[in-house]
Amino acid sequence: MDIRQLALLAAIGFAGLLFLIAFLCDREGRPRWLTSPIVYTLSISIYCTSWTFYGAVGSAARNGLEYLTIYLGPTLVFVGFWALLRKILRIAKRDSITSIADFISSRYGKSDSVAAVVTVLALLAAAPYIALQIKAIAGSFQVLGSAPEDLTGVAAASPDPVVAFWITAGLALFTILFGTRTIDINERHFGVVAAIAVEALVKLVALVAVGALAIWGVADGPADLFARMEASAVPLDAPFGMRWVGLILLSGAAIICLPRQFQVAIVENEREGHLFTAAWLFPLYLLVMSLFVLPIAVMGLDVLPSGSNPDMFVLTMPIAAGRTDIALLAFLGGFSSGTSMVIVSCIALSTMISNHLVMPLALRAPGMRLQGGGDVRRFLLLSRRFSICFILLLGFVYLRTGATGEGLASIGLIAFAGATQVLPALLGALYWEGANRRGAVVGLAAGGIVWAYTLFLPNILSGVAWWDAVAMAGPFGLDWLRPGALFGLETGDALMHALFWSLAFNALGLVVGSLSRLPTPIERVQAALFVGVFREGADEGTLRGGDASADQLFDLAQRVMGADRAYDIFRNYARARGQVTEFPLVDDAFIGHLERRMAASVGAASARAMILSVTGSETISLDELVQIADETARLMTYTTEITKKSDEIERAATQLKAANERLRSLDRQKDEFLSQVSHELRTPMTSIRSFTEILSGTPDLAPDEREHFIEIIHAESIRLTGLLDEILDMSVVESGDMERALEPVNPEIALGQAIDACLGLLRTGDVRLEVARVEGAVTVEGNLARLSQVFINILSNAIKYNTSPAPVITIESRVEGAEYVVVIGDNGAGVPAGEAQSIFEKFSRGRSAGAHTGAGLGLSISHAIVTRSGGTLRLLPSAGGARFEVRLPMLASEAEPLA
């Protein structure tokens, strides 16, 4: 059998196998392995198309390591999945996003126009990409069919149109059978995913087999390979300049922006956790693929006749080496990479076309009222099938007209540059809340036009006379508008030139367009939901009720999703909320839920338009929004004021309460004092009166007795005077009118006087005195007599109130910094904790004061005196006994030598 017939049979058999797999997986009860992260990762590797399988070797043979950029870019994106892909995935899952156009339009206010622009752009960019696949598959057929001695594969560079056409037709049939059998609730295709996962394995195994053949079959192991690499024409020192960086960024953008990559990585994703595996497994897949490309390129150049087409080395080298089996495997690998790309691309693009171009037009068409129209679902399927044929036809036309004589890789890069125009709008959608619909449309249109003008059109139209004239001299003779050197930028690299200008205009358009007007309410809502997707409580903004009945909504839903599925949605929703009726209560939440479910079939913008046609309500208008905001602001101001006021009132009440408490305490002290004073005054007065009465009533009193009585009267008078003096002192000190001015004095002298004055008391009480006094002269500002009074007061208190059987008084004076400190302590009972606070209060007396003389003014007077001298008098906390501390600031000039 001819190898070509064999290949055809193998291809058909392989396609049948894939179909079987897809069919089995789409049936109910999907096998478990289908939901594994490995299948997910393999499905993402549709990134490796014929371009990789055949073209990467060609690229390596021509430009050396440049082919690596196409795989390094996606590696960086997947390795950094946490920031970008995870965010896109989270949003897409929440909002049931169906495509990249849906994602972007959903963010920019669920806008039809944005979705339409993205769709048209994606369609244009897909044409060269699909042309590339057709060319590669047709070329591989041709290589297998050529004479055994002709292994150059040059013929494959411009494949036979008839073969190409039949391949296109076959692909269309294949894709329609695969991709549009059903409209899935979430626009997902489990069978397709399983099939392309198998294809991903086939192409990996095939390329590795050919690579292994190159290393160990054609070359003599790795050492020989590297030796030949040195000598080969493969340029390993390719310039790592602008183009290197540009291509890495371009391919990194393409892995997110290409509609089919978005389809497999985001839309078909089962769980967010799968991304965590793909983050490293997909780069690993790319690494293995890339690893075997270089050996094939080196050995192809080495053993195949010069002038051979390097894009076909993967196929021609095994044939040259006499390994037909490996050549057949390589053919299947190429077939897999081409078909899987075409299938997924067409599914993604046809979804976009039907949801964002056909559906909006149908909704607007006067003859197609939804209420009266046919089944939306059947209409959608039909439009998708037509779209698939249209997309493939476009690819075929591009193949016939475009300058596709170049290597596969350069055709693919045109498509990449086109798809990348979505990037600014996508990044704006994810990270810039201020980006709005106008910016997105302007940016996308500007970028798309510049890309088409500088890269797409030159590729299609080169050779057409009028275009060549434009390319040479610029349109209308405007030299600075030449498509190859816009604004006089001569780079010599058409791709980098186009990429630079298109992205520059694109980004500028996005920024200027967005800043030129305020976002509408729905844009604001969607921006917050997209940018802040990881924020707590980020949930879908919903339509507001309107007056739709459940019947109306059901009628709408069953047109879009079919009666069974619509019924399921309605019943499950009602059941989940514990409603016993068949149809749920129509509220904002349910309408939002239904809109999301419908968006999964027809896209966000169309779903909203349909729902609006039934509910007749608009989302919150700007006026309403402003009104709500105003109300909220007013309410908040009001609340703040009330809070402030009640705080003030509470504070005032607390102060009032404290003052009242204090007043009452003072009043109580005054009463106590008055009764005390009257009692104190009354005792000596009574005694004086009674003794005077005796003296005057009994003239025959014995002289010594009379003498005794007079002494008592005298002593009592002195006590009375002392008492009155104390009260007088108090009022003098308190009123701040000291009879003598302050002057520099030595407080040590006052302390000495005080100790002397108390010696009598000390002796009668049998008190031991321990004194440690400062040495040298100390000067403070004060009054000697007053200070002496302070010390006497404290000392006499210490003696009087000392209840210890062996009383000890300690007097300690020292200099601390710029202060003179005297501490007088005793070993008595101390001051009870409850009285420590009020001990310096006027009219206050200790609990055992009744047993001792004095009006309880001593400490209060002392406190006032010390305070007046600028010092402090306080009770030190201590374990046993009372310890009083007097602190007086020293005069600066005298402090120095003592410090």
Binding site: L72, L236, L287
Partner: protein
């Protein structure tokens, strides 16, 4: 003792693993990009190491290192899924 302190450090490092993994996840693509940028990548052109062109060893080695780092990040950050 020095090893106690070292052990304390280790425990702290372990407790902060999720945060560090998140930081690495954010910075990883930028590290990769910087390592692939011209001034750095150009250093490896021209020489060979054990018969293998150094630039090949560098690019594929870097690639593998990025994959391993991503594997570690994914392992650490994987929630209850």
């Amino acid at each position: 003792m020095w090893w106690r302190r070292w052990r304390g450090c280790w425990a702290m490092m372990r407790d902060e693993r999720p945060r560090r993994a998140r930081d690495l996840a954010l910075i990883l693509p930028f590290i990769g990009m910087a390592a692939l940028m011209p001034p750095l990548v150009g250093l490896f052109v021209g020489s060979t190491i054990a018969g293998v062109p150094l630039i090949l060893a560098y690019l594929f080695g870097l690639w593998l290192a990025l994959i391993l780092a991503a594997l570690m990040v994914a392992w650490r950050l994987k929630g209850p899924d």
